[in-house]
Symmetry: D3
Subunit: 135 residues, 6 copies
Amino acid sequence: MITSVSKRMTFSAGHRIFNPEYSDDKNRQIFGDCSNPSGHGHNYILEVTLTGPVDPETGMIINLKEMKAILQNEIVNKVDHKNLNLDVPFMKDIIPTTENLAAAIWNILDDKFGAEMLTRLVLWESENNKVEITR
Amino acid sequence: MITSVSKRMTFSAGHRIFNPEYSDDKNRQIFGDCSNPSGHGHNYILEVTLTGPVDPETGMIINLKEMKAILQNEIVNKVDHKNLNLDVPFMKDIIPTTENLAAAIWNILDDKFGAEMLTRLVLWESENNKVEITR
Amino acid sequence: MITSVSKRMTFSAGHRIFNPEYSDDKNRQIFGDCSNPSGHGHNYILEVTLTGPVDPETGMIINLKEMKAILQNEIVNKVDHKNLNLDVPFMKDIIPTTENLAAAIWNILDDKFGAEMLTRLVLWESENNKVEITR
Amino acid sequence: MITSVSKRMTFSAGHRIFNPEYSDDKNRQIFGDCSNPSGHGHNYILEVTLTGPVDPETGMIINLKEMKAILQNEIVNKVDHKNLNLDVPFMKDIIPTTENLAAAIWNILDDKFGAEMLTRLVLWESENNKVEITR
Amino acid sequence: MITSVSKRMTFSAGHRIFNPEYSDDKNRQIFGDCSNPSGHGHNYILEVTLTGPVDPETGMIINLKEMKAILQNEIVNKVDHKNLNLDVPFMKDIIPTTENLAAAIWNILDDKFGAEMLTRLVLWESENNKVEITR
Amino acid sequence: MITSVSKRMTFSAGHRIFNPEYSDDKNRQIFGDCSNPSGHGHNYILEVTLTGPVDPETGMIINLKEMKAILQNEIVNKVDHKNLNLDVPFMKDIIPTTENLAAAIWNILDDKFGAEMLTRLVLWESENNKVEITR
């Protein structure tokens, strides 16, 4: 019996999807409207899953207040109401696709929670598109 | 018995909320994170409601294909994956709050559908915030 | 201060949208895929709103158990897992658009709850389309 | 053109629905499982709607930060993770049905926002039941 | 670190659940209302998950425009507003339960995306019932 | 190709999160508002997943009517509109965190469906927090 707890957080950010080594035409051809130079944005939903033994004293895998504080401080405060291309150090020189944003968030949380505990991350860019990372 | 039909559409856009006549400090004080100079964005949900007699031949107030085409062409295509401050002619020189964006969309649709038919517009900027316009 | 209580119920039904006095071509032209002769179907969501004084003894406008039983018996049991064109007496000879289905449900509920109490009915045919009836 | 802005907040609370002047049998008969003496609870969703002119300087009816702070301090902090029968002064001696809870919240917000501005309040007790107050 | 991208699509279809080798009574006994001869229908939600390396040039596992076009052409266009028993060649002689429909869709997509890439498919028949296929 | 079917059920319950061996202060420190002595409650969502071969005669892993009846009788009827600390025998002397409640439900369903069939259980306590059990 493997038990996991997941917390859902939301943030809103702007981005432009383009590869600076591509021509404008190639960016438009590959990324379509997402490469629009003045950018657009999304309401992202982040769901982080931690797995581990349930502490018999508390009945919890992790105190959700602690988990929420880490997600708030390490992730949400750094991306919410920000431009992912310009304002977010951990996305510097990274094309801000949902895949890359999810991977960057995963790497930060991997350091915070450890490889045994962090088992899944899901990031929705819209109600129709999401990216999921597992081990 | 008053009958209305509503259609829900979605789009993603970027924006920065600021008044160019305010100082940076005042913009930050009033608009908070929303005035971040490099902008951010949202997944907007637009719900438009039309009211009128039900045609006994078709059982419809309006053909939803026609309604969808108007919303797609007049609104969604003009704002989706755009920056509301820079790319959208009908938002030129307008602070792109949800209130103002909803009003601008209302004015366009009022011309298309007429005052008798267009009775409500709801625009969600996030799952927690929405603006509604009625007559 | 006007207080209303609303109950949400769901049902699944099949239908074909066509006018028997139209040619096949005209049905196809007006109703599109919805006129496909072998039919299709939807998960409908019905939300019924009753308005009235709150009984000081119970703190309720109406007992929700009673309201649910009426909606279940008068509406859901008659349409759930049914074909709206063929199986539902109250839809006989009516084109089963969402507008017409909502009106037929409204008329039944108007008899049950009365004109003072029944104030709104919303019927979703999909997550993007809904019909609303008020007085 | 009437413009409104709505904010959605959530809270979790416990309650028991019973009239202390009724016998246990009558409470059980009228309120069913809701009168279970040891209580149960819900995740409530509160949506408050304010109507008014849009300030041309800010593009806002009200600053959402201000609106959120009032809802948080006046309502959510007083009911979240509380027992509505025992812990909430503004519900003292009131049967905590959704109708009565909505009315009590309405009265508090009416004082804060005023009769011109506060135009609608919706309170969901579950995904299937909600109460709405308007003027 | 395993990365996946998922796309959600919707379609509406009609069906009747019955085994032609069963008697009417046995069909009614096993499939209940779902075996109603004139059929009913649902709004289906399909979520397809593809797994693979993220292309460092694009930051994408697959271009979502390409993924959407395949899902639209190979699946949605063949089932939307159709009767699953009568109109859909890939469901011929198959009882159109959610399990069987999911398997048929899986087999088509397996040919298109390949066994390494297609890792999960979820098909909702209603908000309360879903089928999931993995390897 | 592994096929699973999932059913979603909802219930509302009250609880208080505390360890009787802790002081009031320690309970408050660890469990925060959740340890409020008069309790609070939630609308829980339970999703149970069963995996297995699809019966070629019926096109089903399990008859959903049978699955629903088991979930209704074994779980929902025992917790809905109950206080998890006081009214539910299978939670006696167990701290009613979502982790522990999910585990207790899992153990009951494991007996009913068997280890080969029961493969996942997800329990949401709120729209932002959920617990998942797998093997």
